[in-house]
């Protein structure tokens, strides 16, 4: 594939210009002769929001480094099909070619998610309790059941250890409202609806500093 092709695919139509304009980091279209493969797309397109190596700096954009490969594939496909929607991500995913998806997923899955540090330690402490035990009264299952110790994830259940708190909280609210509905078995929608605002914020805060041991 020629470099001009890749530029064409991500050229600013379909509202993409608007999105490019609102992104605080901004990025320019690739003007070099780099090969138009997953690494080029990662280094020229994804990097703008998801940062170098898939560890985004802006906490409303998710870290995608170290996510389960199958999970990344599913999300990209869902963005393309409309099963998951995002003003920012939907047009980007739409510009991908189907054959880009697997190598992109493999690339980001092989990176390491770098944890941050919880700001509110008290909230993180409460969040840890919810993560490990859930809430027996309201029927919130413990997050650890699917997302595993240290939030490393398992198969279809994504890594969440080390993820940005605002992104996690936002997703949980979208699950609760049904704005995000591409969860397996409707599990996350059911769980998010049972969680209090405090539980959601606290778990999100706990996840920030969670690292693989």
């Amino acid at each position: 594939m020629k470099d001009s092709d890749i530029r064409h695919r991500f050229k600013p139509d379909n509202g993409f210009l608007k999105i490019a304009a609102i992104m605080t980091m901004g990025w320019t279209f690739p003007g070099t002769s780099a090969a138009a493969d997953a690494h080029t797309i990662a280094a020229t397109v994804c990097i703008a929001c998801h940062g170098d190596d898939g560890n985004s700096v802006i906490p409303t954009f998710p870290k995608i480094a170290g996510l389960q490969e199958g999970y990344i594939v599913k999300q990209l496909r869902d963005f393309r099909s409309g099963a998951r929607t995002s003003e920012v991500m939907s047009p980007v995913a739409a510009a991908l070619k189907p054959e880009d998806i697997a190598p992109l997923a493999a690339y980001y899955s092989s990176r390491k998610m770098k944890p941050g540090e919880a700001v509110d330690r008290e909230a993180a402490g409460f969040g840890k309790m919810v993560y490990l035990d859930g809430n027996e009264e309201s029927g919130v299952p413990a997050c650890i059941g699917c997302h595993q110790a240290q939030g490393v994830g398992y198969l279809i259940y994504p890594r969440i250890g080390g993820q940005h708190a605002p992104y996690v909280a936002h997703q949980m609210k979208d699950f609760a409202s049904g704005d995000r509905s591409n969860d397996f078995g409707r599990f996350m929608r059911a769980i998010a609806r049972r969680m209090t605002e405090e539980e959601i914020q606290s778990v999100a805060e706990y996840l920030v500093g969670l690292d693989e041991r």
């Binding site: 029927g139 299952p141 413990a142 650890i144 059941g145 699917c146 078995g185 599990f187």
Partner: protein, 219 residues
């Protein structure tokens, strides 16, 4: 002609319709019937059990608080029947409902999970009763429970009688209350009849006794 035939059909089908509306407690639904015929695969069951771990724990030991029962070591037939009953609405649990529907588990996965759980070791560190009810509980158990649930609380796989030994006290007590009060719709009517006259203190005593029973030897 149809006009005359229809009432006849209704009359002819009446007994079977009536039967279908009042299933006997251990009459298994389609899903369970299928699952019971499938040879479950424990390795696949371990993967299918992952979403259940959030409540029932990784080792399926449940919660000592009794909020969620221990499932490890339980008879596969019992597990299949109960899951199927939850799916058909014959047994209702709102907390579990979103995680166990037919959109989540098919007959193969039910058989796999049941096979996996049946083979897991039973923890003896279950939530136990206060101990004060053991002797009275022993008396009641010998009188009303032993025939079905066995001398060691081991239950009976063929007859869908659950193992009750070393189950969490609070869970045993809650289920016994639901069964006595007619609120667990998939109960064995013989059991409902047997514990109908039980006072709460009787249920506490017998639950106390069962929670103190050591995990039965696995065959």
């Amino acid at each position: 002609m149809n006009r005359f035939l229809n009432p006849l059909i209704v009359v002819a089908l009446w007994p079977s319709v009536a039967l279908a509306q009042t299933p006997v407690w251990n009459q298994v639904g389609e899903q369970a019937k299928n699952a019971l015929q499938i040879k479950g695969d424990a390795a696949r069951g371990a993967a299918a059990f992952v979403p259940c771990q959030g409540c029932h724990r990784k080792d399926a030991s449940g919660r000592t608080s009794g909020a969620y029962p221990r499932l490890s070591g339980q008879h596969a037939t019992v597990l299949i029947k109960q899951i199927s009953d939850f799916q058909s609405g014959r047994r209702i649990n709102q907390k579990m409902e979103p995680f166990i529907g037919e959109h989540v588990l098919n007959a193969f996965e039910i058989a796999d999970i049941a096979s996996y759980l049946q083979g897991l070791p039973i923890s003896a560190t279950n939530g136990k009763g206060p101990g004060s009810g053991v002797s009275r509980g022993n008396e009641l158990y010998k009188k009303d429970c032993v025939e079905c649930h066995g001398s060691w609380g081991e239950g009976n796989a063929e007859k869908f009688y659950p193992m009750v030994a070393a189950q969490h006290y609070r869970y045993l007590l809650r289920q016994a209350q639901l069964i006595r009060d007619g609120d667990r719709r998939n109960s064995n009517p013989d059991m409902v009849k047997a514990i109908k006259p039980y006072r709460d203190s009787d249920l506490e005593a017998v639950a106390d006794y069962m929670s103190q029973l050591a995990p039965p030897d696995k065959k």
